[in-house]
Amino acid sequence: MARPALLFPALFGLGFGAGVALADPLQESEALAMLQKIADAARQLNYAGTFVYQHGDQVQTSRIVHFADASGEYEKLETLDGPRREIIRNNDEVMCYYLDAKIMRSEKRVARRSFPALLPDQLSALTTYYQIRKGDSERIAGFDSQALVLEPRDGMRYGHKFWAEANSGLLLKARMVNERHNVVEQFSFTQLAIGSGISREMVKPSFSVSFPEWRVDRFAHNLTSNVESGWAVKNFPAGFRKIMEMRRSKLGNSIPVTHMVYSDGLAAVSVFIEPMANRSRINEGLSHQGAINIYTRTINDQVVTVLGEAPATTVMQIANSVSFHGK
């Protein structure tokens, strides 16, 4: 009986495995425990390593160091291929340094939302829209791992596979696949040290920002005005729920941008709405950055930009159902 069951998703080629038992299915609680362990490890462990990021035919190698102590969490990412970029995190502040362009963008976290902050009330949604099972254990970057597979039950979200280090739960590899099971993006450590030998010095920026050579960009948010903007997404894909709405403004520009976030627990899609007058140039249509699909359209004198780590159809459906219903 197991054989026809396994053939089903393969036949349709879409991972429509709804109601079909695959090998080693996981209980909701068990799946959540594994995801929680991965998130805890990412937050609490000290580690340093080199990882490869692949999307499409692009491959990029980066170095990452994570350090945590009583004062908080610090992280540093340096790209090793292509243009030199550096990302520094000091607790809730993330700073991206574009060394070639001498631009620094900084972003403050809205809230300390440790995973699975998105999940608890979406747990049932997670198993409604994803089939979750354990995968094989594999050796990655010299460590034994346990894999977790989340297959979407419809075409509105990507499939995920996570390989967690067998003891600590640290994520060694993560893969996102589309409905044809092609890899959309993949992170994979090639070298990693966990625990000893990581110091605070290793997570400091390699240089200091000096003026006037550098430009600082900041896209600030204002949560105190967490009120309804009057904009709504009428027809978002099943399983997605609005988790946040805020106003933002760009440095040196007081015109507010509305930012709404929708998530199904594993993927997030952001909706940005701003007056056309705010933009120097508008590229309407579909584009992508890595595995993030971006769709831009205009509604009257407003520019709507929707982006997220979800299939283009999902991003476009959300964008096409944005409407203003007044305050």
């Binding site: 993330v94 995973f115 902050a117 430009r215 960009d217 930009t305």
Partner: protein
């Protein structure tokens, strides 16, 4: 750094504050720290109403005029106090500019500030922005809400900085 921090919080007496101003003038590293702190720190959050790059341009003026800057400024102490209080009121971004402007006023020709606020100056600033500047802002703003960030930390931010600009499909 501690004294500077106290200075920014408006906790110093006038003479002490003046000493910190001198230190800032003499130590470029300290000055960079002061600027960065103000620009990226909490104080700036939500404050976006001042012309982008003004501080940078004033700094450029400072850098270009080292001899003019050498004398200790005869800054009325009430200015220090006023600025310190502004900083304490968490409008650091504005305070930085105000502080530099006050600090500079005796030296900086007034027309510089006028030029900075002129529409021509603003347009130059826009042109210097990458074509997809908004999208880059959006990508970064989005990333913190991606569950992948919770599972792998800033490694997932590599998406937002890989390659040049978002590619058109």
């Amino acid at each position: 750094m501690e004294r500077i921090s106290a200075f920014m919080d408006g906790e110093l007496e006038d003479h002490d504050a003046a000493a910190q101003v001198r230190r800032l003038k003499e130590d470029p590293e300290l000055r960079a720290a002061w600027e960065t702190y103000h620009l990226v720190g909490d104080a700036l959050r939500g404050e976006a109403g001042y012309p982008s790059g003004l501080a940078a341009r004033i700094s450029a003026k400072l850098a270009a005029e080292p001899t003019v800057l050498a004398p200790i400024p005869r800054m009325p102490s009430r200015n220090v106090r006023r600025v310190a209080l502004s900083a304490a009121a968490s409008i650091g971004g504005v305070a930085l500019v105000a502080w530099l402007a006050l600090f500079d006023n005796p030296f900086l020709p007034q027309q510089n500030l006028v030029v900075n606020q002129a529409p021509v100056g603003a347009q130059t600033q826009m042109a210097a922005t990458p074509a997809n500047g908004s999208v880059n802002d959006y990508l970064l703003a989005h990333q913190q809400f991606s569950p992948s960030t919770a599972m792998q930390g800033v490694a997932s931010y590599v998406r937002t900085v890989s390659g040049q600009n978002p590619e058109q499909r």
